[in-house]
Amino acid sequence: MAQTKTQFGYRRHPDQDRRDGDPAEHAVVVVGAGPVGLSLAIDLAQRGQSVVLLDDADRIGEGSRAICFSKRSLEFWDRLGIGQRMVDKGVVWSVGKIFHGDHLLYQFNLLPEQGHKRPAFINLQQFYAEAYLVDRVEELPNIDLRWRNKVTGLEVRNDHVVLTIETPDGPYRIGASYLVACDGARSSLRQMVGAEFAGQVFEDQFLIADVKMAAEFPTERWFWFDPPFHAGRSALLHKQPDDIWRIDLQLNPDADPTVEKRPENVRPRLARMLGHDKFEFEWISLYKFQCRRMERFLHGRVMFAGDAAHQVSPFGARGANSGLEDAENLAWKLDRVLRGSSPQALLATYHTERSAAADENIRESTRSTDFMAPVSPQEARLRKAVLSLAKETEFGKRMINGGRLSVPSVYESPLSSADGDDWRGGPRPGTSMPDAPVAGEAAFLTEAFIKAGKRFTLLAFSNGADIDTPEDVGVIRIGGPDGLADPQGLASRRYDAEPGTAYLLRPDGYVAARFRHPTRAALDAALARATGHS
């Protein structure tokens, strides 16, 4: 089977020559160079932090792989300078179709409106995403990426941690003020802090196959209940770059993994699905769903992000995307705490916001999984009723759950200031900023946010008056003589804006507060709250 890999070299680091009693001290160490760890390191480095990034392997492109990256993830990657490369390589899609037997039951469009820089989703093999992230890391001198550096020990001290790291040259130790574990579902750091990883394991087994073939299927997500080629079970078809197609087939709970995985057994199943057998296997894997999370994402100075902190079933694209949301949430907070511009308590809001998001992702993906694999005869009966009602009713279509796809979480957060004015729409505090087309120095609001410095930013709809903006707060002005134009009126509409309206955006592009007529005092108070000072 073909397998695209990128090999990286182990290099000895001067830290390894330090005396054992005097390990090198670093501000931030990130463990795990997957999409989450790499993105976090880049975000921190772009904010001026020096980051040591450790990975126990020396190559990428193996193991279970994410393929669907959300609009939110692409907007994050735009801020890291690699969004365009991902989109250029990826397969853009927004339409999903759900079939029952051979009938089309329901079709949905995840981004039915125009005027967004990024699409609802791209499909891109995880190894491409990782390779592009590594390229970006290599452009940033303040990231020190060390391959074949496996963390084998963790000592927690009062104001720092000390790591023991195994390398081809033997072990060495380093100290870190903060440690972020992005080391995946089988996180060894999680075991080292002694944390539980509790949740639910689903009995049904799924077969994933990536096959290479020339095919004319549209670039849509196709999901089948009880398809003619796989009676009684479910199936999913998705396109990836390079003429690769991802196929997921639900197997019986008692299926034997070693037998099912053999290409000679997978081939006839897929041939029935595709109607031909002109394809080559890229990758075959068998898995069971798990939905679980750590109770606390913060253990003193050790923080957990991505699959290390929470694991969901894959239907819904909530794994890698939620890990990337963890990274964007943590990066700016950790940067501020390291600079001393926010108290350490700000980090607690990483747990508050992202553990609630993990709960939501687990709830959504558990519901999808239960719908696909009903656990009792009555559950199966209810599902059958939904599928049959969907043929003639709108409500039945909407109840079919073939995976609810990842959307950015909304935070009920101590960092948000409650609305004091009257709003009919627009993103409320705790919501990620909606994009809109603008004209002038930037073509989209998300671009204007990057140009304004990816920091606390005031998005102000001009009424001609000057706004007294706190220091270190960027400004995006819409309208007025030096502001961006809003030619289609979409920015105003999406933000329910009137002349004078202003939104205070956090460095991760979330709304912290909004005002019909901002005063300096109100802005100062909202900023203090959003930076963990009150």
């Binding site: 209810l382 009723a385 009602l389 039945g396 109840m399």
Partner: protein, 75 residues
């Protein structure tokens, strides 16, 4: 809105009869299929998750009471 447990039909017997007749001649499995669809259709018509939860709770409480009575009779 809260769950209404007042008598809402002018002729409650008609409503009961309509459901009974819908099940006439069906096997247990077919009846269960019918009920599943009926519950979802009615739930959607109500369109209020609070009312639906109250209805579920009332139905379950009644089951618990019935179970207790059955146990007491055995003792």
């Amino acid at each position: 809105m809260t769950l209404s447990t007042e008598s809402n039909f002018t002729k409650p017997d008609d409503a009961f009869r309509a459901v009974v007749e819908a099940h006439r001649g069906l096997s247990d499995a077919q009846s269960a299929d019918l009920d599943a669809a009926l519950v979802l259709i009615l739930a959607n018509h109500i369109g209020d998750i609070g009312v639906l939860r109250e209805a579920i709770e009332l139905a379950k409480r009644r089951m618990a009471t019935a179970d207790q009575q059955a146990q007491q009779q055995q003792q």
